[in-house]
Amino acid sequence: MSGHDASGHLHVSSESKAPYAADVLEKLHVDAAEVIARYPQKRSALLPLLHLVQSVDGYVTGRGVSFCAEVLDLTEAEVSGVATFYTQYKRHPNGDYTVGVCTNTLCAVMGGDLIFDRLSEHLGIGHDETTEDGRITLERVECNAACDYAPVVMANWEFFDNQTPESTIGLVEDLRAGKDVAPTRGAAKVCTFKEVSRVLAGFEDGRADEGVGAGPASLLGLKIANERGWTAPGAQADGKDAK
């Protein structure tokens, strides 16, 4: 893969330095101004701007680094230094869907290791590699704060709970076939990497009201409390009657 090497440094290909088309650049400037306006000091806009670059280019390109440096009055080295620090910034073209299997201890033990191995074998790619059709980038991810739903798989940072090797293979095949796939807890469908990157830059996509509020594991304690009539002190009078 030309975009990175084992040292982890950002080596951008020359094509990723090709200038943006005028209309793309103009839109980027409009969006960047909106992002910068959210902060008292403009350097704070760097993380969202790198997400914004990924929403246009699909990864952190050379021209994206130059753009961020220009609008924030930073050097390209300063921007690259930040871009290489965070795992969500991709150093080479990413697939349309990042499928991340949690292989931190708890998920790994509950089945995450097996899911990753089966998926890797099925797709013919390893960690941080992309299928030839450009659809799926496979990753091992660290704990994603959903341990009560282990083993957990993330597709473009949406939750797929209680997974098995078979369910995850089904998930990637549906994504590759272009079908709409609904996460267990999240939007009505998994958006593309570029679309999600735009949300992470702070631009709403109107999907906040989609999906559930909580899954069954999140509700377990509440369910038991309701069954047994357990409440917080002074809570008997309010709350439940309002439902």
Partner: protein, 447 residues
């Protein structure tokens, strides 16, 4: 005597649209804000201090005291930054809270901001939970439209606004000063303390960095009073918290309970151990807290009792592992995690976690050497207390505690691979249909 479980923040998570302003208002939402705006800011700080609430992000520092330690107003900006970078392995309370009930956090942020004199608050959310980000952005938008944010909050001329900021994948940003550097658009590396954030935090201005659950608990304290809060929990660990049970219990899940509940009670509520198997080890507060075993089932899960028993309450991230699990494999994987997430700033952590990883991986593969256990303990001793921030210390916790309770498994790692002693397919939650891969194919890839 309070009930075993006390749903407060989780009380209406089962409402079909639990995250909306309308639902929140049906459950007394923003009444605490109305009450707070009638109070002097100092009276709010006093109420929170009087509740004795200790920070819910792991360290357990009293929230009200943190606020009162901020440098006095000098006319310049003061900041509240909410640490929503929930990434500690096993921790899964803030993410479901923000997904199901984001307004509890937003209301808490507004009250806390008014109390400490902050006009622009930040919520730093980890970037890997896009739907939670959507919910927070939407909640801020709804709160603003309702007049709870802006330049005339509640018609009282108070200014508070909130920027919700998405991170980009880095465990270290949960460390409060690394979080501030990251929020300033830099690599997330911890700062030298002092100065503490209360004196020089975000943009070198007085800043309070607080956990999501701490801030979301503030509206209840204001509305119901500090005595109500102190009526739950123990004398030195007051109030309630969300306990997250995961792993080999029959029904993993979230349980909101007074501090001081025991693991025995929680496992029972979770339907016992899966398939009646035996509990082997568990973490009280995430992977950074020394592991516990069956002998600790009756330790009250409050700050002091857990500390007295040799661990930390941390984030109440209770990861349960049964007798099928190799403790060596579990610890080796956590060690991979710390090595991967070490920010590289200080030598003991950067180099130490790398060496710990080499040794743990060879013990897991059954290729440990005679002096590897001593070497592990020695390296841990050189990291603990000598690294720049708590990440290095955390990396040593699972290793030293596992050696303490399960030394024989580390010794077995000098001749027998962990996957032979504890076949991994026995630990998984689904039926394995193909032969299990060995460690070689599931080893962590360097990133």
């Amino acid at each position: 005597m309070t009930d075993t479980l006390t749903p407060i923040l989780t009380k209406f998570w089962d409402d079909p649209q639990s995250w909306t302003l309308a639902t929140y208002e049906r459950h007394d939402g923003y009444k605490a804000l109305t009450k707070a705006l009638e109070m002097e800011p100092q009276a709010i700080i006093d109420a929170v201090k009087d509740s004795s609430i200790r920070g819910r992000g792991g360290a357990g520092f009293p929230t009200g005291m943190k606020w009162s330690f901020m440098s006095p107003p000098d006319g310049g900006p003061r900041y509240l930054v909410v640490n929503a970078d929930e990434s500690e392995p096993g921790t899964c309370k803030d993410v479901p809270l923000m997904m199901a009930n984001p307004h509890a956090l937003i209301e808490g942020v507004i009250i806390a901001s008014y109390a400490i004199g902050c006009e622009h608050a930040f919520i730093y959310l980890r970037g890997e939970v896009v739907h939670v980000y959507r919910r927070l952005l939407r909640a801020v938008e709804e709160a603003r439209a309702a007049g709870h944010l802006g330049t005339n909050v509640g018609g009282k001329g108070v200014t508070v606004d909130i920027t919700v900021h998405a991170g980009a994948g880095a465990y270290i940003c949960g460390e409060e000063t690394a979080l501030l550097d990251s929020l300033e658009g830099r690599r997330g590396q911890p700062r030298l303390k002092p100065p503490f954030p209360g004196a020089a935090g975000l943009y070198a201005r007085p800043t309070s960095v607080n956990n999501v659950e701490s801030i979301a608990s503030v509206p209840g304290i204001i509305l119901e009073g500090s005595d109500w809060f102190k009526g739950m929990g123990t004398e030195k660990s007051t109030g309630f918290g969300i306990f997250s049970l995961s792993g080999h219990v029959t029904n993993p899940g979230q349980f909101e309970a007074p501090l001081g509940i025991t693991m025995r009670e929680l496992i029972e509520l979770a339907g016992g151990m899966r398939g009646g198997r035996k509990l082997k080890f568990w973490t009280p507060g995430g992977s950074s807290t020394p592991i516990f075993t069956e002998e600790h089932l009756d330790v009250p899960l409050d700050f002091d009792s857990v500390a007295a028993a040799g661990s930390m309450l941390g984030t109440r991230a209770l990861q349960v592992f049964d007798e099928t699990v190799s403790v060596v494999r579990a610890v080796a994987r956590w060690t991979d995690f710390y090595a991967h997430e070490s920010c590289g700033k200080c030598t003991p952590c950067r180099e130490g976690t790398w060496w710990l990883r080499q040794i743990m991986n060879r013990i897991e593969a059954g290729q440990g050497t005679q002096d590897d256990i001593d070497k592990l303990v020695d390296i841990c001793d050189n990291i603990l207390g000598r690294s720049f921030c708590a990440l290095g210390d955390a990396a040593t916790s699972p290793i030293t505690s596992a050696v303490q309770y399960f030394r024989e498994e580390f010794e077995a790692g000098m001749h027998t691979p962990a996957h032979e002693l504890f076949p991994p397919e026995k630990s998984v939650l689904f039926t394995v249909q193909t032969p299990v891969q060995t460690k070689e194919s599931s080893g962590m890839v360097s990133a």
